[in-house]
């Protein structure tokens, strides 16, 4: 299955992936409208320290602890992609407790959010990958 991979050697630490993620999931057509004056809460997050930086987003694990531990059945697999049913989710945060990589986070709407590879927003393909200026984030089979 195609997954998002990051090569920290190429990461510039520019945080563009975070902005494009927030934009892609905002439902807005205009980036300025979507992000101006907004404290973004992206599903991909850059870690950085002492000249090292890299972006972290859902690994879409083959043995997904978040899905298996989900108390409502809201987190589920669709062809290997871990998706969230926001109608079912009650925001108990068991997935935040169990995700080994810290890739599930509270959403601004009160439940949780995570990377769904932009399959369920207007983008259709990962915006973080498309807009990474140095190709540090890629979407491929490995």
């Amino acid at each position: 299955m195609k997954r998002i991979y990051v090569n920290e050697k190429w990461c510039l630490g520019c945080h563009l992936c975070e902005y494009y993620c927030a934009f892609a999931n905002s439902g807005e057509k205009d980036m300025v409208k979507a992000l101006k004056g907004v404290q973004i809460n992206p599903r991909i997050q850059v870690e950085e320290k002492d000249g090292i930086s890299f972006a972290v987003s859902c690994r879409h694990c083959e043995e997904p602890l978040c899905v298996k531990g989900c108390i409502t059945g809201a987190l589920h697999l669709v062809d290997g992609v871990i998706e969230i049913d926001k109608e079912k989710c009650v925001g108990c945060y068991t997935c935040i407790l169990t995700c080994p990589y810290g890739c599930v986070m509270p959403s601004d709407e009160g439940v949780i959010q995570k990377c769904e590879l932009c399959l369920n927003n207007a983008g259709g393909k990962p915006a973080c990958v498309e807009h990474c200026p140095n190709k540090a984030i890629v979407f491929e089979e490995r």
Binding site: K88, V90, I96, L97, G102
Partner: protein, 408 residues
């Protein structure tokens, strides 16, 4: 291969999904005392609060049984297991034959003997959907509710009904709330938050005796109530297996493949005890993620794929009135504590590994801590100072990061 599952909650569903990873053909029969499609038990408090409903609290989609080739007997109680003849006797006299059996009977409320309790006309336990529906029937805007027990169940109940009733008073023998998951400092913080929602606590004492609408407490005070909720604790439901001759301690004893002492009979979920790697003891770890995984391991083994259930740890995600807390492991060891007005963090290390944590308020990325505990990662292989600051992958070695993020 004929599979029979007693129970219809997380462990049972995990078992079905485990079996079907290996065997798509063998018929599965699910026997459930409750009459409902599989539902998420922890959601009963959210149901009372109006934050979910009967449809959304279904643990799996409507077509789950059909898709997985399950025959479901709802509203049927298994009354005996014949481990030699390999049959389960039902309450209607029918015998269901099996080749492999899973017992996922869960837990039952523990109600200690208390003087006069039988005279209380309106009292409820709070563990099942029927419990929640019955309680809801008895609540009005004028109800004064007394909840006995300030543990996870009692407090989720308090939160669920708080907006629907006149008052909620929670009484517990322990000096603090949530003693199974929080230390005293974190408990005090959470208690204050819950009290701000109008819930009253009387701690460090218990009920001496009851009259129909009044509890006399051992500390000399009294609580008048219209509705009593008994949430003192739960016990593993082990009777079926006990009577069948299986080994039982605190809960059903199972081996690393989750098989009981009786051949071809497995057990999973809240009725079992398992080995907690953080305390090094056999404990009843009655929590949903463990139940699912244990059930799944049972299913895999029942269908012939040898799989071990290991790395079990206590862990909890819970929140009250918007304040979230995530906890895991055991709290015996060297402590690192950071507290502010809105957040609390405790990390506990022992023998060079992270053994437990408590996070209240700021719970972001806590699963990184959980993984350190579960994997027993030696702290000298990571930058523990960075981990203390917050959960982050930059604390790990470049090699580990490349494997996780780069698929190397």
């Amino acid at each position: 291969m004929r599979y029979v599952i007693i129970g219809n909650s997380a462990a049972a569903i995990g078992c079905v999904e485990g079996i079907r990873q290996v065997d798509q053909e063998g018929p599965i029969t699910i026997i459930s005392r409750e009459k409902y499609h599989t539902y998420s038990r922890p959601l009963i408090s959210y149901l009372l609060a109006g934050k979910t409903d009967g449809e959304r609290m279904k643990y799996r989609a409507d077509d789950f049984y059909e898709k997985n080739g399950c025959e479901v007997m709802l509203g049927r109680t298994a009354v005996a297991i014949d481990s030699l003849a390999k049959t389960v006797l039902l309450d209607n006299g029918e015998r269901v034959p099996f080749d492999r059996l899973l017992c996922a009977t869960g837990s039952k409320p523990f109600v200690p003997a208390m003087e006069g309790l039988e005279s209380v006309p309106v009292k409820h336990t709070f563990l099942s959907l029927d419990d929640a529906k019955a309680l809801d029937q008895d609540l009005t805007e004028e109800s004064r509710v007394m909840i006995l027990g300030a543990g996870l169940i009692g407090l989720k109940c308090a939160e669920g009904i708080a907006k629907k009733v006149k008052s909620v008073t929670v009484v517990d023998l322990a000096e603090q709330i949530l003693p199974s998951i929080l230390d005293t400092a974190a408990a005090a913080m959470v208690q204050k938050h819950i009290e701000r929602q109008g819930i009253r606590f009387i701690l460090g004492t218990s009920a001496k005796c009851f009259t129909p609408s009044r509890a006399e407490l051992k500390n000399g005070s009294a609580v008048d109530f219209d509705v009593l909720v008994l949430a003192v604790g739960v016990r593993p439901e082990v009777e079926l297996l006990k009577n069948a001759g299986a080994d039982i301690e605190r809960g059903v004893q199972v081996d690393s493949h989750c098989m009981t002492s009786l051949p071809d009979i497995y057990a999973a979920g809240d009725c079992t005890q398992s080995y907690d790697i953080t305390s090094g003891t056999e404990r009843v770890l009655a929590l949903l993620p463990n139940a699912y995984r244990q059930g799944e391991v049972c299913g895999l083994n029942m269908a012939g794929l040898e799989t071990s259930y290991d790395k079990a740890i206590p862990m909890n995600a819970i929140g009250f009135f918007g304040l979230h807390m995530l906890t895991a492991g055991s709290y015996v060891g060297e402590e690192y504590v950071v507290q502010s007005d809105s957040a609390y963090k405790k990390l506990v290390t022992r023998q060079g590994v992270l053994k437990g944590y408590i996070l209240v308020g700021d719970v972001a990325r806590a699963g990184i801590y959980t993984a350190l505990i579960r994997d027993e990662t030696p702290l000298d292989t990571i930058d523990y100072e960075l981990i203390k600051e917050k959960p982050q992958l930059i604390a790990f070695s470049k090699g580990k990061r490349d494997r996780v993020l780069g698929g190397a």
